[in-house]
């Protein structure tokens, strides 16, 4: 049998770069002219710059890239075209051989929705395992309808990995459909208004048991456009949720008591990414003001205790703002339960609806209930509180990634942090912060077990005494597991000292570890840190690799950098 080849193309740089656009055109030309039979084609954007990790693109202003044709042959099983769509691309997929019926694809990853419907018509999506349209970012109704056509395949139950994005639609509504024995349907959604009749808890069989003989529950996420009208529904069937190994909901802003059913059904979940906001809900059925003494009118979802990896992500620009969706729900709650509701709507109370407060509160709650192995907090505009890291003494944290605002005097509080927590299992420590904070020895001096230390602080200054400290302690005996040590900084005291440090460290480590990486340097925007280099294995802690055992659902921001290995780095079924 003739070999079916794999063709992998990496695009260095994002498409706002003129050269990258030329590369893309050439890559597509090459694919169309290739003469061998192939089964796997991938074109992927490879790595990102730190500054662009939460790149915002005004989709109305996107310049046009023009049309680009990709002509494909019928041996193709996996088609992966993945990059952030900074431009309006008219992508046209064609069959090379007009005699064959349709391309039988198992994997489809597209950066935009093809503008002509025959581009989709040439694809048979019934065997599709992986559908990733996470970079598709559109408000155009026609395109959204076409998106829905592609999503139809989800209902075929063949899909194991689905990625879509939601940022321009801004909201989703969680719809829960309950069927009772008479096959009567009851639905319940999040944004109900306070004047509608609601199902009171007495009418729902309690507790809700996921039992086929009893009630069949079905959830669906309904995506809304900015006029609050529904674009399409994505049904989440219970047995599918059971099998999910990775769930990413960072694109959804939604507060619903019904998420409880989703979180409860995630038995196999290994890693979860979400905005902290999603964890909060207000019970619209009942008001607990008089029965439970609590300072908050809201509650927080409990996550499955078996969860190992949690990635908290939020792109909020002003943490001092109130979460308006949530605050609105609270007002409805107050009106509905006006006879017994007691919480005052004073200024102090309003503060508990601030994003900042919600983030802080959720992080604390998570640490109290979960023993995570991998945690990442990626909220660049959130100012870190030292007691955010109050992890119980016996924790099993192996990976800690923090991309937040670090207070200038962070180091003063570190001693307290270490007195509360013992990080005996910590292996990887990555800290990214754009604001200026003091780099002191304290930052690493308790972490002798670390394999990776990466501190990216674009505006920080590295002083002489810290350099001297590093020279004294950074030795293979003290840090036996260390493989990567990286400080990227804004400025440094004495360049000659730094040069000497580089030399000493290399001499000490490289004999034992030829691949040892040591780099303290003034930031260069084009370099990739571990976090934004998709090929680094750390991404596997937060994102399952493709396998017959993995099932993933990702509803994401389109331009947000996800923890996600490149498809080209993964093994596809033969």
């Amino acid at each position: 049998m003739k070999n079916k080849i794999y063709l992998i193309i990496f695009l260095g740089g994002c498409l706002c770069d003129l050269n990258a656009r030329m590369y893309l055109r050439l890559a597509c030309q090459y694919i169309s002219n290739i003469t061998s039979e192939y089964k796997h084609i991938s074109i992927e954007e490879n790595g990102y710059e730190i500054k662009n990790r939460f790149l915002l693109i005004d989709i109305a202003e996107k310049p046009s890239f023009g049309s680009i044709n990709v002509s494909l042959i019928s041996t193709l099983k996996h088609l992966i075209i993945s990059f952030r769509s900074m431009l309006n691309i008219d992508l046209i997929l064609e069959k090379k051989d007009s005699k064959i019926n349709k391309l039988q694809l198992q994997t489809l990853v597209l950066p935009c929705i093809p503008s002509r419907s025959n581009s989709i018509d040439i694809l048979d999506l019934n065997q599709l395992n992986i559908l990733d349209i996470g970079y598709v970012n559109t408000k155009n109704r026609i395109e959204l309808t076409r998106l829905d056509e592609i999503l139809l395949s989800h209902r075929q139950h063949s899909l194991r990995n689905l990625t879509i994005s939601l940022s321009e639609w801004q909201s989703a509504r969680l719809v829960v459909i309950r069927r009772n024995e008479d096959n009567k349907q009851t639905t319940n959604s999040v944004f109900e208004n306070c004047f509608d009749d609601i199902i009171t808890p007495e009418e729902i069989e309690k507790p809700i048991i996921f039992d086929q003989s009893n009630i069949i529950n079905e959830f669906s996420l309904e995506f809304l456009d900015d006029t609050q009208s529904s674009i399409f529904q994505l049904s989440l069937n219970y047995s599918w949720l059971n099998k999910l190994t990775n769930l990413n909901l960072t694109g959804i802003h939604c507060h619903s008591i019904d998420f409880k059913y989703i979180f409860d059904s995630l038995y196999s979940l290994r890693s979860l990414s979400l905005s902290p906001c999603l964890l909060f809900y207000i019970d619209q059925f009942e008001c607990y003001c008089q029965t439970i003494s609590t300072s908050h009118p809201y509650q927080i979802h409990l996550l499955n205790k078996n969860l190992l990896s949690l990635n908290l992500v939020s792109n909020i620009s002003n943490p001092k703002e109130l979460c308006s969706i949530f605050h609105e729900q609270y007002k409805l709650h107050s009106i509905r339960h006006s006879s017994i509701h007691q919480h005052l709507n004073n200024d102090n109370f309003q503060l508990s609806f601030q994003y900042e407060y919600l983030i802080h509160y959720s992080i604390q709650q998570i640490f109290q209930t979960l023993d995570l192995h991998h945690l990442s907090i990626r909220i660049p505009n959130y100012e870190f509180h030292i007691d955010d890291l109050n992890i119980e003494k016996s924790n099993h944290l192996q990976t800690l990634v923090i991309d937040v605002k670090i207070p200038m005097t962070f180091h003063i509080k570190l001693a307290r942090l270490y007195s509360i927590n013992s990080f005996n299992y910590l292996r990887r420590f990555i800290l990214i912060s754009e604001n200026n904070f003091e780099l002191t020895p304290l930052l690493i001096d308790r972490f002798h077990t670390l394999e990776i230390i990466e501190i990216i602080s674009i505006n920080s200054h590295l002083n002489r005494s810290t350099i001297n400290y590093l020279e004294k302690v950074l030795k293979p005996n003290n840090y036996p597991n260390l493989n990567t040590f990286r400080f990227w900084i804004g400025s440094v005291d004495a360049k000659h000292l730094l040069k000497h440090l580089h030399k000493t460290i290399r001499l000490a480590f490289e004999k034992l570890k030829p691949a040892f990486q040591f780099d303290i340097s003034i930031i260069n925007q084009t370099r990739k840190c571990i976090l934004y280099d998709n090929t680094h294995e750390i991404h596997q802690d937060f994102h399952s690799l493709l396998s017959i055992h993995s099932n993933q659902l990702s509803i994401i921001y389109p331009n947000f950098l996800n923890y996600k290995p490149l498809y080209s780095e993964q093994k596809f079924d033969k």
Binding site: I8, I9, N19, L26, Y30, N33, T35
Partner: protein, 89 residues
Amino acid sequence: MIVADIRRLLSNFRSLVCLHTGNVSLSKSILTNDIQTLFPFLKYITLLISLDDIKNNLFQDICASLNQIKQLEYISLVLQDRKGENRIH
């Protein structure tokens, strides 16, 4: 390094199955004329291709040359601007 030397060096690896050029971009003549002669058993290839190559129309030539190698199973092309990497002529 002069051209003849690198070619002689490469000719010592005739049985090579996997070639990864890393940060080094090979010269036009090696890529377009000799790759098949130098490595007749090549199955896996990773090439770094930079903008200079594209300006000289080299990209199409490389692709044509890759099309000639029938036993190839895995082609990986890294299209990226040159960032201080070495070039072997």
